[in-house]
Subunit: 195 residues, 2 copies
DNA sequence: ATACTGAATATTTTATTGATTATTCATTAT
DNA sequence: ATAATGAATAATCAATAAAATATTCAGTAT
């Protein structure tokens, strides 16, 4: 067990509190208490509470991106399979978080309206993963399309409801899965030459 | 200028108030006052305020559906053109309403969380218009697809961000238009035989 | 009977206050 | 200098009271 520097210690304490009691209900004093320091001292390392949240949210989103990256770089899958897995991963991640860990959703929600850049950057990462997939498909000639940037944006847009936590209460997971499947089929139809 | 029956008179007064001051800030007493009757009398014609709102929201959504129907039944357009016009109409409608008439958005918002059936039925109407378009395309052989229901659902899902008022603040109209265009191109790619 | 009303009640909003919490800062410890 | 603190201030939240509003109903007018 390696020593943690102060910022990491703070983040660890905050993460524990946030995931147990939620972002809004944990106080700076509590985080500081867990680190055996005063609340004032937290401000030496983070500008404010929101920044602590942003650091953690970012960490969480980076993990998600990593999961998606594994799919994109999994050489045992065809590009079509990758796209499908990609979409389902996003859907399940969003749904699961909303459904079973409302505490993390609370953090994401706070970021969505108080730190939109964080979410924006994640959206950007997803876009670039899709772009990567399209590049691969070009190399092996699996998909065909005119404009790679436009196509990546189209896919990203078409699947965007699957990463909006707000939408999750509108349908059951099964309904979403059917929708995801339908969209995926149609997208692949557009990407795959039937020539 | 033809005479209005009492329910229509009430709806007209309510519509004027709602679009000028918003759903939440207009009172039953005010609506009644505009109709020269007591608030109590409104309840002879509508169960409650929400029902008045629902009637108007419905009217508004039906108008929108009518606009969409005109596009779908416009014989001067190819199915591809119809799909594009359909998507752009929805986008502009949603964006415009959110942007320039927040009062109506307020009504829609109230319906979304207190009368979800109203919105659900509108979603259904859009789905069936898409279905209709797909049928047409089948007849003239413009598009080709395996499962019409699945395809209609896929299209409806892929374009769904364009009718979510909540999403509108996230991008400018120009950005949305680019996205709509990209999605449309990709969908058409999937629907049109390149044979 | 049908259309309506005023007054009574129930529900929802709004305003006010007090308490909690975030943030700053002057100061202390190492 | 760097790390930390306690106490002061500012911003936010929660509880409550007050006011406004929705809804009901017993009763009046036609």
């Amino acid at each position: 067990m390696t020593e943690l520097d102060t910022p990491s210690q703070i983040l660890a304490a905050a993460e524990a509190r946030f995931s147990l009691y939620g972002y809004n209900k944990t106080t700076m004093a509590e985080i500081a208490g867990d680190c055996n320091m005063s609340a004032a001292n937290l401000y030496r390392y983070f500008e404010n509470k929101l920044d602590i949240g942003a650091a953690l949210a970012n960490q969480c989103l980076v993990e998600k991106e990593h999961g998606l990256e594994l799919i994109i770089t999994d050489d045992s899958k065809s590009c079509a399979e990758k796209l499908q897995a990609f979409i389902l991963y996003i859907l399940h991640y969003t749904y699961h978080h909303f459904d079973t860990s409302p505490k993390i959703s609370e953090l994401i929600e706070a970021m969505t309206d108080q730190r939109p850049e964080v979410m924006q950057s994640h959206r950007q990462s997803k876009l670039s993963l899709i772009h990567q997939l399209l590049e691969q498909s070009q190399e092996i000639g699996e998909f065909s399309f005119a404009d790679i940037d436009q196509t990546a944006e189209a896919i990203n847009t078409a699947i965007s409801i699957f990463y909006l936590p707000t939408i999750m209460p509108m349908f059951t997971l099964e309904e979403f899965e059917r929708k995801a499947d339908a969209v995926c089929t149609l997208l692949l139809n557009g990407l795959t030459h039937s020539g």
